[in-house]
Amino acid sequence: MIEGHSRAIPSPLPEETVHGFRSASHLLIALRRRLAQEHMGFRLYAAGTEGFLWDVAGACEAAGMGKAEYRLCHSGSAQRRIFCVHCRTMTDGVTTNLVTCSGCGAQLFVRDHFSRRLNAFMGFQIDAEVPGETIPVEELYR
């Protein structure tokens, strides 16, 4: 419980309702600090690309919030972040159904299976059964 006059210390800056940040990482640092001060009943609304949204969700969960306490709205690019299930390397900015893993070089098929914890879709080697047996590349996630 906060009592006393600490809030009366004059701030050199005017009260802001809109904050600018240098980057999404910068914003997330501030967000984590802010959530640590918040109380039950707080709601968070975020809009942005999928990767950003799940970073925000991760910060919310880490602060003890549940799914009912934040709302995410996707806007902008539908690019996917891919987790290579074989070598565990992430490949960012994927717009196609197939992608070369930036870690092990396998041709990965991009599944619709998404992990919020890893903030990534799963990729597995498309031609693991028969080398070279693959499907046409299509741009699906722009």
């Binding site: 039950m40 009943g41 003890g64």
Partner: protein, 314 residues
């Protein structure tokens, strides 16, 4: 693998006040008792005169290898009979039939903080939670509401955990619930046990302040039984009485009726039975909302009846 019934022996009875008694139970057979976690309750079968009552009581301390379960029973007026039996007739050494502990009021390990609110004898499961959470080093705060004349008693029960975050408030207005719920950090879970009015008030206030459902927990013993009713078997003839503490399926089986079943939990659909007359009380997860509304089917493994009689196509 499936253990349900346990014979308990009364090891000790202690009078805490004119209306509260602390009962200590141990195994009557010498077998070790199953773990009784904080929030769990046990159902006891009490034979009072010619009536058989099944009452549920919360454990007031976690039981993990201690070999005993502790309860507090308040004499209620008017009593359904159970509390008078416990207060006036139960003696040390008596053997009671009961079930293994069942926990419908657990604490959540995911919580950042646990806020416990008790009213009167509703303190019982919260005593167990407080002990367990403190031992784990979890962040916990407890508020107990008590009638003015019982403040001293509850203060004494809470003495082992005394501190700024454990408070007993006398009288209904003793606690500013809105202020309490408003200042809880993100990730707090609230657990309330006491009179229905208190539980409703806490729940209503928390919801109004924006707490999500999954963070508000009220003590519950669940609803496995219900009002007794009669099943008439249209095809084979005959009637089966379904008692308050047994399922329709159990009653049919005990009467020798060949009723199909698999999951016995209202999920698989195996026991689906056509209803010819009467109004089923649906408790299953198998029938669709429309099927339930039609009243044409019932799942006897979990469901019961709103009417005194159900006529089944069996």
């Amino acid at each position: 693998m499936i253990q349900r019934d346990i014979a308990y022996r009364v090891r000790a009875i202690e009078s805490l006040s004119p209306t509260l008694k602390r009962i200590v139970l141990e195994s009557a057979t010498g077998d070790p008792l199953p773990v009784g976690a904080a929030g769990a309750h046990i159902a006891l079968t009490l034979k009072c005169g010619d009536r058989i009552l099944r009452n549920s009581y919360s454990l007031i301390a976690p039981s993990d290898g201690t070999g005993r379960y502790e309860l507090i029973v308040r004499r209620t007026d008017p009593s359904r009979g159970g509390s008078h039996f416990v207060h006036d007739e139960l003696t040390v050494g008596a053997v009671l039939a009961g079930y293994v502990p069942h926990n419908l009021f657990p604490s959540f390990s995911h919580a950042r903080k646990h806020l416990l609110i008790g009213g009167g004898v509703g303190i019982t499961p919260l005593l167990a939670h407080l002990a367990a959470l403190r031992r784990e080093g979890a962040r916990v705060e407890l508020h107990q509401l008590a009638a003015a004349e019982e403040v001293a008693l509850f203060t004494q029960l809470l003495a082992p955990w005394a501190g700024d975050d454990v408070q007993v408030h006398g009288g209904r207005e003793g606690l500013d619930l809105e202020a309490l719920l408003s200042r809880q950090p993100l990730g707090t879970h609230v657990y309330v046990c006491g009179p229905a009015a208190l539980m409703d008030r806490v729940e209503g206030m928390a919801v109004a302040l924006g707490w999500p459902d999954g963070r508000i927990h009220r003590e519950s013993f669940g609803a496995s039984g219900g009002e007794p009713f009669t099943v008439r078997l249209a095809r084979s003839g005959g009637e089966v009485r379904v008692g308050p503490d047994e399922s329709m399926l159990q009653a049919l089986e005990n009467a020798g009726v060949a009723a199909p079943s698999l999951c016995r939990g209202g999920a698989c659909g195996e026991c689906l039975t056509r209803v010819l007359e009467g109004e089923p009380e649906h408790r299953d997860h198998y029938l669709t909302a429309e099927e339930k509304a039609s009243g044409q089917f019932v799942m006897p493994c979990v469901s019961r009846a709103h009417s005194d009689m159900l006529v089944l196509d069996l």
